[in-house]
């Protein structure tokens, strides 16, 4: 192995690590606030890439069918609206129902309609990215409202089972919407920078920089804004946060919106680097999960570092022993779990 191969592997590892870091952050965020182990995070990544790919022009003509994600948003908006309506009627709060309907059905429908209209136009690439992010991010809160909010008080195990079910449902819908074959999106840039002997592609540089920027924005959000602080309070102590007036539903919705945005963003970032399939997300989210476990599902900086470690390990493992790459990456979780279970004191969730 010479220096140039080493440099390329490190670059590859850091690029992938940056994507895993975004996922790990989303997983930690969701788990900390809602106790949901968010298995379907990967589907948001693949939906991100595939929606963007579906918006691309084919032979200079706009796509024949707008991305299926729009129909999912519409369908989920209707279901969420109905659920809100039923809840309001049961409580006899008719006045509130109009507001809730507008919020849960009106806004997603407006986003869906806008995306449907925009998909037919000749959009610049950045606008396509905005449409994609808007669509996929909308799925986050809707998913929380439909699948998780009715069970918000259930045990971690029940929430995990729901997550697995949601994962399978979204994978199946992905196959229906995007087909069995994969897609790539155009590169942001095909340039590369020469640093001595080492060539760094601008694409990888962009991925890493955007990841760092996202992490910085998150840090600001949690440190400076009221809603960010409310989320942190909920993460620390749900009952306490509720007593001081933080609505757990609002916290859950905000968390899922943010997490969906993070995952959709990872999807947009990896689209030009690799081919993404309707079922690609699971493996990506598993690696994000390994990174999140390294952070103990609570620590953001540790999770980001873990993601970097996973990315680098993966790159070097694929060079030295490609047949055992996944084995090596996932075996990493065993010593980490061992170390964590020895150092951390036992924490029983039912005690809260």
């Amino acid at each position: 192995m010479d220096l140039s191969i080493f440099a390329l592997l490190v670059q590859d590892g850091i690029t992938n690590g940056a994507v895993y870091a975004l996922l790990a952050l989303a997983l930690v965020l969701v788990f900390a606030v809602t106790r949901v182990i968010w298995v379907p995070s990967g589907e948001f990544v693949s939906y991100g890439t595939l929606t963007l790919a579906a918006l691309q022009r084919v032979d200079g003509a706009p796509p024949a069918t707008p991305p299926g994600t729009i129909w999912l948003v519409v369908g989920m908006a209707v279901v969420a609206g109905l659920m809100e309506l039923i809840e309001c009627v049961q409580r006899g709060e008719m006045a509130r129902s109009v507001r809730q309907l507008l919020l849960w059905t009106g806004i997603p429908l407006a986003i869906g309609a806008a995306a449907w209209g925009l998909a037919r136009l000749e959009l610049p690439f950045w606008a396509q990215i905005v449409v994609t992010l808007a669509l996929v991010t909308t799925l986050g809160p809707l998913l929380y409202r439909i699948a998780y909010q009715p069970l918000a008080e259930a045990s971690v195990l029940v929430l995990l089972i729901v997550s697995v079910a949601v994962h399978f449902a979204l994978t199946g819908l992905g196959l229906l919407f995007f087909g069995a074959e994969g897609s790539r999106t155009p590169a942001f840039s095909s340039e590369s920078v020469q640093l001595g002997d080492i060539t760094i592609s601008v694409q990888s540089l962009l991925v890493v920089m955007t990841s760092i920027a996202m992490i910085a924005v998150l840090a600001l959000f949690f440190g400076r804004t009221l809603i960010g602080k409310a989320l942190r309070a909920t993460a620390l102590n749900r009952v306490g946060a509720r007593l001081v007036g933080v609505s757990p539903n609002l916290a859950g919705t905000a968390t899922f919106t943010l997490a969906a945005l993070l995952c959709a963003f990872s999807g947009v970032l990896i689209g030009p680097i690799t081919t993404v399939y309707y079922d690609s997300g699971f493996l990506v989210s598993l690696k994000g999960f390994v990174a999140a476990i390294i952070g103990g599902l609570v620590s953001y900086p540790m999770a980001a570092l873990g993601a970097l470690l996973v990315g680098l390990l993966e790159a070097f493992a694929s060079f030295w022993a490609s047949a055992f790459k996944e084995v090596i990456v996932f075996t990493l979780i065993i010593p980490v779990l061992l170390w964590r279970s020895l150092t951390a004191h036992h924490h029983d969730e039912e005690d809260e």
Binding site: T274, T275, S280, S318
Partner: protein, 384 residues
């Protein structure tokens, strides 16, 4: 009380079941991998089944299609269900090798013929007595690996690198390629594996390029085959790139884009039937299928996988009238007669090749079932 309430319904159900079996339609059970990792192969097969006629030899045919989700357990469950509940006369499927291998035991026990649409030669291994009931339509890996080795030799290739799926498909190809390379005197200097969902194959490709072989074979199915190829292009690899017939679908061309130019692969002649000489009998039989398929599913929607399902139908269309002369559908005798008729198929010109079955060879394809093609500007071009 409860029993009395249900009794009429039960009696009705039995009567219905009896009347159904009395009509003696031919029931053909199909299990394909229309979802899961092999969905890109299973979907064109399923689409092809939808094109098939509902009468063969003047007898009504019921196609009962189930999805096994590329899952071996599900494929076995489907097969059992088709045999015990639907009383099928023949099973077609599955799409992939592991599923088909697992189904062999089930159909052999039930003495029901089966036509697999998966590639591995092990499915019809004559050494296994149970494969008496099993046939398969796709070309075996050995036939295709040999075609690649011969082409490499002709192009002056002395050393080759290999990168393929870390699963049964890749392992099967690697084993066959080692054999073929040995017989043609080509040295394999690097062997790498990857997974179809891998986000990056940089590590493997760097190692391949460092070994500097004259040619590289990528053993993958569908669009995942583009991942190493694009990486090789990014690393400025100048040698020849070979793919397997697993990538021959329009999506691969779309994803690989201009990086696919010059790639060579072996293929069933049907894919490029327009370019075949008129003297080739496969030109007409390939056209018959592809024109019908593209009329329903759109221009350039052809893939070789659907052809395997079509060929299974052609085998049955020849064998069923023979079997009908000997026994009534739905009986054990009919299934045995159907098996015998399939085994005695001679010179059947189908979409992928010409089938001549023998007790030793339940695949029945020869060199006419392969041709080398090249990718040029997003099109398949017959290699001269």
């Amino acid at each position: 009380m409860h029993v009395r309430k249900w009794l009429p319904a039960l009696a009705g159900g039995i009567a219905l079941a009896l009347s159904l079996s009395a009509t003696a339609d031919i029931n053909i059970g199909v299990t394909v991998s229309a979802t899961g990792p092999a969905a890109s192969l299973g979907i064109p097969e399923k689409n092809t089944i939808e094109l098939l006629p509902t009468t063969i030899g003047g007898q009504k045919v019921n196609w009962i299609v189930l999805d096994d989700g590329s899952d071996t357990t599900k494929a076995v469950t489907n097969t059992r269900k088709l045999i015990s509940e639907d009383k099928v006369d023949v099973v077609v499927g599955s799409t992939i090798t592991p599923n088909s291998l697992a189904m062999v035991d089930v159909v052999a026990d039930a003495e029901t013929p089966m036509i697999s649409m998966a590639a591995s030669a092990r499915i019809v291994d004559p050494g296994n007595p149970k494969t008496k009931w099993v046939f398969k339509t796709p070309q075996s890996d050995a036939l295709m690996a040999d075609a690649i080795a011969v082409n490499m030799k002709a192009n002056g290739v002395k050393t080759m690198g290999y990168i393929g799926f870390a699963d049964g498909y890749g392992d099967g190809w690697l084993a066959e390629m080692r054999n073929s390379a040995k017989t043609t005197g080509i040295r394999i200097v690097a062997e790498e594996k990857y997974n179809r969902n891998d986000a990056s194959v940089t590590g493997q490709v760097l190692k391949l390029v460092a070994a500097n072989p004259d040619a590289i074979l990528i053993a993958a199915a569908g669009t995942p085959g583009a991942t190493p190829q694009k990486e090789l292009a990014a690393r400025n690899y100048k040698g020849k790139i070979y793919q397997t017939h697993g990538v021959a679908n329009p999506d691969f061309l779309r994803v690989v884009g201009k990086d696919g130019n010059g790639t060579i692969l072996p293929i069933g002649p049907m894919l490029v039937f327009e370019q075949l000489p008129d003297s080739n009998p496969l030109k007409k039989s390939g056209a018959e299928y592809i024109v019908k398929y593209e009329a329903k599913y759109g221009k350039d929607s052809r893939s070789t996988f659907g052809g395997h399902a079509w060929d299974a139908y052609l085998l049955l269309a020849r064998a069923i009238p023979e079997a009908l002369k000997k026994a009534k559908p739905g009986t054990k005798e009919f299934r045995a007669a159907l098996r015998d008729a399939l085994e005695s198929t001679k010179e059947l010109v189908a979409s992928h090749g010409v089938y001549t079955m023998t007790p030793q060879d339940h695949n029945g394809l020869d060199n006419r079932a392969r041709t080398m093609i090249r990718i040029e500007n997003g099109k398949w071009v017959l290699a001269k």
